[in-house]
Symmetry: C2
DNA sequence: GCTCTTGTTGTACGAACGTTCAACAAGAGC
DNA sequence: GCTCTTGTTGAACGTTCGTACAACAAGAGC
């Protein structure tokens, strides 16, 4: 056994400066790090792995930090929701709005087709997100704050989709219940994604995209080719 | 404070026979009771309420009983899956098979319509089951035993649905990819059910049923009326 | 009324949970 | 080089978790 050294010993002798035991980060930087680590935990082990211990270990940080930067573990979960679902879906909405605004370049059909396709791009239609989404859905059913955020988000997306559908219907002189079609389309996408995640042999992303187009084309006519 | 009585006192005096402290049940009866109590816990509080303490309290039983009747808490969850999803879906399959066998009374169109409708009956299309299914889905993604059971179950249901679809298509001389239509239909049902559970203002069971019929009728022609 | 089987109880245990908080120290500002 | 702010640590706490197990007793069988 080595003899215990007085605290100041190292400094006095000036041998080696001990490396910093941790690095300080801006509050929002650290929050992002924790949100990302928490998301990783969720995607690997589901809600059962959404734990102070595991998240802090994943982030390489001490146990006290989550409660310093978030009101509670539950507050962190809300932030994970926002940075996962919220952010990505809002991106889709914003892009679709932009396309629809640039009406000169993008005919309504092309804008709708682009929005449909984005649902099946690997960014959203991803098996990695299975446990994240499933865990968050389960929490939405129980957590009023999350439920409110979820409704707001889906309402916005549904409205955008309905507008794109309505634009095509008007141009083609078809009578379509655009809000209902938007709702059904979203249900189909969520359902296909779920089937794919739970059993990848049942459906491919390509087949899923085809199914999405088929549903809308039954009401609107061809969308995929000029 | 009353004086502590010797244990045998009551019996010796023959005053009142203490009522039994518990009742013995057959192993399978008690197992059913525990499965039902566990299911109730799941539906109220999600996977977070799936706990030895809460389930035993819900069942009015002592803490040791779950590990006596099941290999572990996880084993109980598998039984909950079987008695929830497995049993109810297998009922649908069996009924559909029977209808298809009685071909004389049930034309294919009526058999398919009945199968479609059963998806939206209050027994299956129920908000009470939200947390149960969501919790079980989350577990399927993580638990190999459940995953295997899930695939077997969905494969069977998808096959039955595809057979019913194919029967109608053949009779009407239409070219239809029945397995794909069955898969898409199931995805739509699951997605609509999910949307309804998370936000009941978006869709009604009636509208959901209409959406289900619309999807199939786009391929097969009218199914709902003669 | 007695015995025997076995379903049931309830305590004990270690591990892991979320939260709190006093102490610490990194690094900016002077 | 010093001070001061504040991001960070890690021990401590009470609770709840799943499991194990010895003791108990209900009720069938004789």
């Amino acid at each position: 056994m080595t003899e215990a050294q007085p605290e100041g010993a190292k400094k006095k002798r000036g041998a080696k400066k001990a490396p910093p035991r941790f690095s300080r980060e801006q509050a929002d930087v650290r929050r992002s790090m924790l949100i990302e680590a928490a998301t990783r935990c969720l995607s690997v082990g589901g809600i059962g792995a959404f734990t102070i211990d595991r998240i802090c270990k994943e982030a390489g940080v001490s146990r006290g930090l989550i409660n310093h930067h978030f009101e509670s573990l539950d507050g962190l979960l809300v932030e994970v929701y926002k940075s996962s679902l919220y952010a990505s879906v809002n991106n889709q909405i914003a892009e679709a709005k932009r396309r629809r605004a640039e009406a000169s370049d993008w005919p309504p059909e092309a804008a709708l087709a682009a929005l449909v396709r984005s649902n099946f791009s690997s960014e959203y239609f991803s098996r990695e997100n299975l446990l994240i989404w499933l865990s968050l859905w389960g929490e939405i059913a129980v957590n009023p704050r999350l439920k409110a955020a979820h409704r707001e988000l889906y309402d916005a997306y549904r409205a955008e989709l309905a507008e794109d559908i309505a634009a095509v219907a008007v141009r083609r002189g078809r009578q379509v219940d655009a809000p209902a079609q938007a709702r059904n389309f979203i249900a189909l996408v969520d359902g296909l994604w779920l089937e794919w995640c739970l059993d990848e042999s049942v459906v491919t992303p390509q087949a899923a995209e085809a199914a999405g187009f088929e549903m809308l084309e039954a009401q609107l006519g061809t969308l995929r080719d000029e």
